[in-house]
């Protein structure tokens, strides 16, 4: 990946530790601004819409969705894969920072991790509510019971449950452990007794002891090391949900790497969106500099190339295999058939548009960055749509071919997850430093050293 460029400081503005603390705690210490309140209200509205949709599907049944006898998974699993993909970026950043020692990731990983946590939460909802009888979801756990019955360990859905819960636990742990020293900082700075108690509880009695720091760093590295294969495995397993099956367009060995790259790709795009918004909202451009945005844009550029390659390989293999069903799915259903619109949106948003980042000017334009990041996420959503629906709706026996239309409930649940994500992120912004203060401090020191060195040179 990108090696950190030592010749440029990653935190600009010659800050003392005290300045850093003050600047980065602004969001937790001040009153929430108007835009925050408005956004929060909107988020809650979306959440309420989602709640209604959730209630409908729970009380009436999954018939309220747009699924058919042939298309057993629709927007639910599309959204699930999409959110999970987005969720990958946060942990990826943490791993870059902890394992690959990419210092530039240090100021991003907190928000990216937060994004991960909320995205995985959103994603995790879908496997639960896509069940016909979610109240029996515990059947999926292999616990000793009076039925003497275990579960099917061959099922990718079981792996999925395991992977998603492991991933959620690990990313929450990493996120939370990473913020413990910062929570201690808030605890020590606040005058509000209640706030001090709450932050006191969550900071676990952290006191900045060097011995604790020693173990803490070791633990984080260890968890980072564990999380690195986990991140790869999670989307691999999500891909296996499809690859293990027999359907044309699903049953492909390329799916796991392709899904993983897609996940990192969409995750980074979402990080970019959020970083741009945060830079706009808070005075943190010294911490998230052009350098950071540029690095993300470069990752997107190369990610886009890999994705494009994957699309090409899929088509090639479908042709090369000579299997009728594969050929039909790829060339008759996706490239030119009922799903061609979605397919070409997917190709243009994911493989073509990000190529604009070959130009430095584009990488340095906030507007371009923002638009492209949004387009990539749209494109990635359509990628999942194309993969899921086209293979299900037009599979082996033409007699069971159907079309697929989502209902208001499908849409409601999707909007609801946006609400959950927004509300979660806004609460995060309100109560937790958006940039890891304790990690940024040494980086800024290093940056100052670099600046001095550069000046000397």
């Amino acid at each position: 990946m990108i090696s950190s460029n030592i010749s440029q400081p990653l935190v600009t503005g010659q800050k003392q530790y005290g300045d850093i603390t003050r600047e980065l705690l602004e969001n937790t210490e001040g009153r929430p601004p108007l835009w925050w309140l408005i956004a929060f209200g909107l988020g809650c509205l979306a959440l309420a819409f989602g709640g209604w949709a959730f209630y409908m599907s729970l009380s009436q049944g999954l018939g309220t969705w747009g699924l058919t006898n042939s298309v057993g998974w629709g927007w639910d699993i599309i959204n699930f894969v999409w959110w999970i993909g987005i969720g990958h970026a946060g942990t990826a950043f943490t791993i870059f920072f902890l394992v690959f020692r990419q210092k530039w990731a240090g100021s991003i990983n907190r928000s990216a991790e937060a994004m991960t946590v909320f995205a995985v939460m959103c994603a995790g909802l879908f496997p639960l509510i896509h069940m016909g009888r979610p109240w029996l979801a515990f059947f999926i756990l292999p616990y000793p019971n009076t039925r003497l019955l275990w579960v099917n360990f061959n099922s990718p859905l079981f792996w999925d449950v395991l992977a998603i819960s492991t991933y959620l636990i690990m990313s929450v742990t990493l996120w939370y452990l990473g913020m413990v020293p910062d929570l201690a900082t808030i605890r020590d700075r606040t005058k509000n007794k209640f706030k001090r108690t709450i932050y006191g509880i969550f900071s676990l009695g952290w006191n900045g002891s060097l011995y604790a720091y020693n173990r803490y760093e070791t633990l984080l590295k260890l968890l980072g090391g564990l999380a690195a294969p986990l991140v790869i495995s999670v989307h691999t397993i999500v891909a296996l949900d499809f690859a293990i099956s027999v359907l044309p367009g699903w049953h492909a060995t390329i799916l796991p790497p392709y899904f993983f790259v897609g996940a990192i790709f969409s995750g980074f795009a979402m990080v970019l969106t959020i970083m741009i918004l945060m830079r706009k909202a808070f005075n943190i451009s010294d911490y998230i500099t052009w350098k950071h945005l540029d690095n993300i844009a470069l990752v997107l550029k190369y990610g886009s190339l890999v994705i494009g390659l994957a699309y090409g390989i899929e088509l090639f293999i479908a042709w090369y295999s000579g299997v009728d069903y594969e050929m039909y799915t790829f060339f008759n259903a996706r490239v030119s058939g009922s799903f061609s619109t979605a397919f070409w949106i997917m190709v243009s948003c994911n493989a073509i548009v990000p190529q604009i980042f070959w130009f430095r000017k584009a990488r340095q334009s906030i507007v371009v960055l923002f638009i492209v990041s949004i387009l990539i996420n749209v494109g990635m959503w359509f990628e999942r749509f194309v993969i899921l629906i086209s293979s299900l709706a037009e599979d082996f026996l033409p007699s069971s071919w159907t079309s697929y239309q989502p209902t208001i409930v499908d849409i409601g649940i999707f909007v609801g997850t946006f609400g959950l994500f927004t509300v979660g992120m806004l609460l995060f912004i309100k109560f937790i430093p958006i940039i890891a203060i304790n990690e940024v401090k040494p980086i800024s020191k290093e940056g100052q050293r670099v600046t001095i060195k550069n000046e000397k040179a």
Partner: protein, 991 residues
């Protein structure tokens, strides 16, 4: 909490048989034993829901110790009836009949409730086959919305005594005043009823009997009168024919006796290496019928052209037999090689068969003549032991209407007849009825004619009635009640007996009739009691005498007939209309049956509606799209459906829809095509009517179960021709050998220690009639989901008939393929279920455990055959799905041996595992081997053509074990290496 009463279990089902639940006084019936009642019904179910929700919360369980389980009661019989073992099914033979429809059946009775209808295997006519309509007629028994619960006078409840009193008085008055009375009935197959009616007529000479059929076969009889001087509807022997030529006769679907013909036809289509012979079937038709779809050669002609062809064929036959061709019509070779056909017919030397479906005596006369010239009479057609159908007389009905309107009648009674709906002058009849002194309808279910009558004296359902039937001369069958009348109804025959002052009931009457008239015809039983009991047990009595006779024909009428046809043809110009009976709805008397409504039409896959079928060329010419509503004859408005294979410049409409007073399911669904029928020369020809039409501009959405019709070049239905088959039995099936040779697997071979169940489907014998679909639905408690859900492609049927087209859109080749769960040995669905709800049994069955299923639907996605069904909603006890599973009465039809599935679980074909378990248990109890054929799933049992064979592959001599080794055998999508337990035999066409 919402009241939900699921009653999946035996106990709860039995509870519903409790007389109390029907709200009627049934004290005289034997109370079903062990009515296990749930005295806290509401509370119990709400508690169950409550528990379900508690399942979410682990900790909540702790305090539930305070929640006692609902108290269930077990109420045994006071005196257990001898014939009844609680929990064990009893089978009774009876007969389904309605007008011209007939099917000898046996009824499965569980704890006093009929729950399944099957064909009677003892009948030589059907040998166990049945029709979708016979299967579905069961549901009509429990249709409490459509059935009349008690006699009515002008819409008000009245007692039987009161009604009898009033009617007898009125009849007496009419008789005294010299008034005329009429009994309008459809064709009566019941000899006992006929005798009863003539007995009544003897006492009341003023009573006229007017026989009228909505779908009439009268012309065939008229033609035979002219040709042979005998009023018969001949019996056809399709099984003996080597060449079958049909002019618009849908003999496999709706014409005359389809279940019987399908069986005969299949005999000539089942082909094996030892006897590589099959009949050749040429169909001339204007719309796409089931028969046309099965034909080897299908010629698409508009109705007038069909007649032209018939005439030309007759002319050709005349010429080839060296006679004078007075037909005066020739067909150019470019249109069709009739010369060849005529010489083929003659060459067959009596083993050809020409049938004609038009209710036009001239055409029928030509058909008779062609058959006679070909020497078919006595070989493939016979007029001795005729079929008793088509006794209607359109002419007398026409004059009846006129006289009715002129006030010539004082009293009219309707039995099995609904002319207000089925006759184009229905409204006039309805108006005229209001002026009568006495009008009576014996209809057991709501219908349009009954509503126009003063008195409605509801007839029993046929499953509650005594009756008999003679479909073919010499083939009698008995009908006995299998349940005490559920409502306060009375058999029409009993009413007649009562009014004639007889103290005999119809049970005694039928018994007397059989012991007096039929007993002497046999020698097997020495006493009348033994004869009666055995007839009752078998349901069938057949006089074995087949006679041979000489056929002396009278050709004098033919030139006139030819002239008449020529004239008819010359009049035909422009767009023509053909009216045909809908496969499921037929004449519409069972329109309120949700099973039939939801049965996809095998040709168009449309459910819940009828339509105007037009050809693609016609559609593009007039810029019509599927669902565009057009107005026909300024009478009906209906949507068009573009149907490949229909004659250009032709519109095809089907009857049976457009009921206005039949019940919640049928009312105002579709349009009434009977309105478009006209009476011409005292016949209703069902075609030839010139259609004037216009677009209305509005649109309509069909609920179709299949929307893609091409196989996309995939080897799904494998087809070959007879010539190729003779060269190589594996013709068309080369892929099977290829895949067998190239299969590779990582997995060890499956070993089945005991049984290994398998099902073979002979695509050559399958006609696509969909009987199996309804049989399966009835056996397995498959819910009806309604039009909207079908449109969302969520039909719940466990088995479906896939239909594919090949060739051109003007006249495509049509193939049917029944698809149900393949019970794959390497089932893709099993691997992916996270909760082990679907696993493989030791007998090779792909099991689905509803109570374990959490509904991830992964198995549905991963099933390449898409045979798994998801319960999108609660289909039982849900007002949104107000079909039979929403009321206590309707739920009585449910099979207690099959769980009613909850919302959110997946279901699918289980190979009727309840029957497998039952069959094995029977063998075990009797300490014997399980024989091939002991276990018959519902679909296999009902198939009229015997296209489905079920059995154990581990039994070396079983039929499936032999068939699976047949060169024609292949598995659906075998390239996926799913190793299905269902095999298909390739379709062979003789052309």
């Amino acid at each position: 909490m919402k009241k939900t009463t699921y009653w999946k279990s035996l106990e709860e089902l039995q509870q519903s048989t409790s007389p109390a639940s029907s709200g009627e006084d049934l004290t005289s019936t034997p109370t079903p034993i062990e009515i296990l009642s749930n005295n806290e019904n509401d509370k119990a179910s709400s508690r169950r829901d409550f528990l379900k929700w508690c399942g979410i919360s682990f900790f909540s369980a702790t305090v539930l110790s305070a929640c006692e389980n609902p108290v269930k009661k077990a109420i045994p019989y006071l005196t257990q009836p001898e014939e009844l073992t609680p929990g064990k099914a009893a089978w009774y033979a009876t007969t389904y009949q309605h007008g011209n429809e007939y099917c000898p059946v046996v009824v499965k009775n569980r704890d006093g409730r009929p729950i399944k209808i099957e064909g009677n295997e003892l009948s030589s006519l059907t040998t166990g086959g049945s029709s979708a309509r016979a299967q579905a007629s069961l549901l009509g028994l429990y249709d409490d919305g459509a059935r009349y619960h008690h006699p009515l006078k002008n819409g008000n409840k009245i007692s039987w005594e009161q009604a009898d009193y009033e009617i007898i008085n009125k009849l007496r008055d009419i008789s005294a005043n010299g008034g005329r009375a009429a009994l309008v009935t459809s064709t009566l197959l019941s000899p006992a009823t006929q005798q009863l009616i003539s007995h009544v007529q003897n006492m009341h000479p003023e009573l006229e009997v007017i026989t009228w059929d909505a779908i009439s076969y009268e012309a065939t009889r008229k033609a035979h009168i002219r040709f042979f001087g005998e009023n018969v509807f001949p019996q056809y022997h399709f099984n003996k024919a080597k060449l079958i030529v049909s002019f618009g006769a849908d003999f496999l679907g709706t014409w005359a006796a389809p279940a019987i013909y399908a069986k005969q036809y299949a005999e000539t289509r089942k082909i094996s290496k030892d006897s590589p012979h099959m009949s050749r079937h040429i169909q001339f038709e204007s719309y796409v019928s089931l028969t046309g779809a099965n034909a080897d050669t299908r010629i698409v002609l508009k109705p007038s052209d069909e007649k032209r062809f018939l005439l030309a064929l007759y002319g050709e036959m005349l010429r080839q037999t060296g006679q004078d061709d007075y037909a005066g019509t020739t067909i150019s070779d470019a249109e069709f090689d009739l010369k060849q056909l005529a010489s083929d017919i003659l060459e067959a030397n009596g083993y050809s068969l020409v049938v004609c479906g038009y209710n036009d005596p001239n055409c029928q006369l030509l058909t008779c003549a062609i058959n006679q010239m070909a020497g078919n009479y006595g070989k493939t057609v016979a007029i001795d032991n005729q079929l008793m159908i088509g006794q209607a007389n359109e002419e007398s009905f026409g004059s009846f209407i006129d006289e009715l309107r002129s006030g010539a009648y004082s009293a009219v009674m309707f039995y099995n007849s609904n002319p207000v709906y089925q006759h184009p002058k229905g409204e006039l009849i309805s108006e005229a009825l209001k002026t009568l002194t006495l009008s009576i309808s014996f209809s057991g279910t709501r219908d349009e004619t009954a509503e126009a009558c003063d008195f409605i004296l509801p007839d029993n359902h046929y499953l509650e009635s005594w009756n008999d039937a003679m479909f073919k001369e010499g083939c009698y069958s008995l009908a006995q009640p299998v349940i005490h009348p559920i409502f306060n109804t009375r058999q029409m025959q009993d009413s007649l007996l009562k009014w004639t002052g007889s103290d005999m009931d119809f049970h005694a009457f039928v018994r007397n009739f059989w012991t007096e008239r039929l007993y002497p015809l046999q020698t097997e039983y020495g006493d009348t009691q033994g004869f009666w009991l055995n007839s009752l047990q078998k349901g069938i009595f057949e006089r074995k005498a087949e006679t041979t006779r000489l056929y002396n024909a009278n050709y004098q009428g033919l030139p006139i007939a030819a002239d008449a046809i020529r004239q008819l043809i010359s009049q035909a110009d422009g767009t023509e209309l053909v009216i045909y009976p809908h496969l499921a709805m037929h004449d519409g008397h069972m329109a309120n049956n949700p099973w039939l409504q939801e049965m996809p039409d095998p040709i168009t896959s449309v459910t819940w509606d009828n339509f105007i079928a037009i050809s693609p060329a016609f559609a593009s010419k007039h810029q019509l799209r599927d669902g565009d509503v057009i107005r026909l004859h300024e009478k009906v408005e209906a949507p068009v459906l573009i149907q490949p294979g229909i004659a250009d410049e032709c519109m095809a409409v089907s009857t049976g829809y457009g009921r206005t007073n039949a019940g919640k399911v049928a009312d105002n669904r579709g349009y009434n095509a009977f309105m478009l029928t006209g009476v011409k020369n005292n016949f209703r020809p069902f075609s030839d009517v010139l259609a004037s039409w216009e677009k209305t501009g509005s649109g309509f959405q069909f609920a179709r179960t299949q929307t893609h019709f091409s196989m996309e070049g995939r080897a799904i239905v494998r087809e070959s021709t007879l010539d190729n088959y003779k060269l190589d039995p594996a013709a068309g099936n080369e892929l099977h050998a290829y895949h067998e040779k190239h299969k590779l697997t990582l997995y060890p071979e499956n070993i089945y220690e005991g049984h290994h169940w398998a099902l073979m489907i002979d695509l050559n014998a399958c006609t696509g009639c969909s009987t199996c679909v309804i049989s399966c639905q009835s056996e397995n408690n498959v819910p009806v989901v309604g039009k909207d859900e079908v449109r969302r492609r969520r039909i719940m049927h466990w088995m479906r008939i896939d239909r594919y087209y090949n060739g051109t859109a003007d006249n495509p080749g049509i193939v049917f393929q029944p698809v149900m769960c393949m019970h794959c040995d390497h089932a893709p669905c099993e691997n992916v279920c996270p909760v082990s709800a679907t696993t493989h049994s030791a007998e090779g069955i792909n099991q689905i455990t509803y109570n374990r299923c959490v509904g991830t639907k992964y198995c549905i996605n991963n099933c390449p055959y898409k045979v798994r069904r998801f319960n999108w909603f609660a289909y039982a006890d849900n007002n949104r799905f107000d079909y039979h599973m929403n009321s206590d009465m309707g739920r009585m039809v449910l099979n207690p041996d099959v769980t009613v599935r909850e919302r959110g679980v997946v279901e699918k074909c289980s190979f009727c595992v309840q029957r497998i378990q039952d069959g094995k248990l029977k063998a075990k109890k009797e300490r014997r081997h399980l024989n091939d054929g002991d276990i018959v799933p519902a679909c296999v049992q009902s198939c009229p053509s015997g296209a489905l064979v079920f059995g154990d592959l581990n039994q070396k001599d079983s039929r499936v074990a032999r068939l699976i080794k047949d060169a024609r055998n292949y598995h659906l999508l075998e390239e996926l290496h799913t190793l299905p337990s269902v095999g298909y035999l390739t379709k062979i066409r003789n052309r």
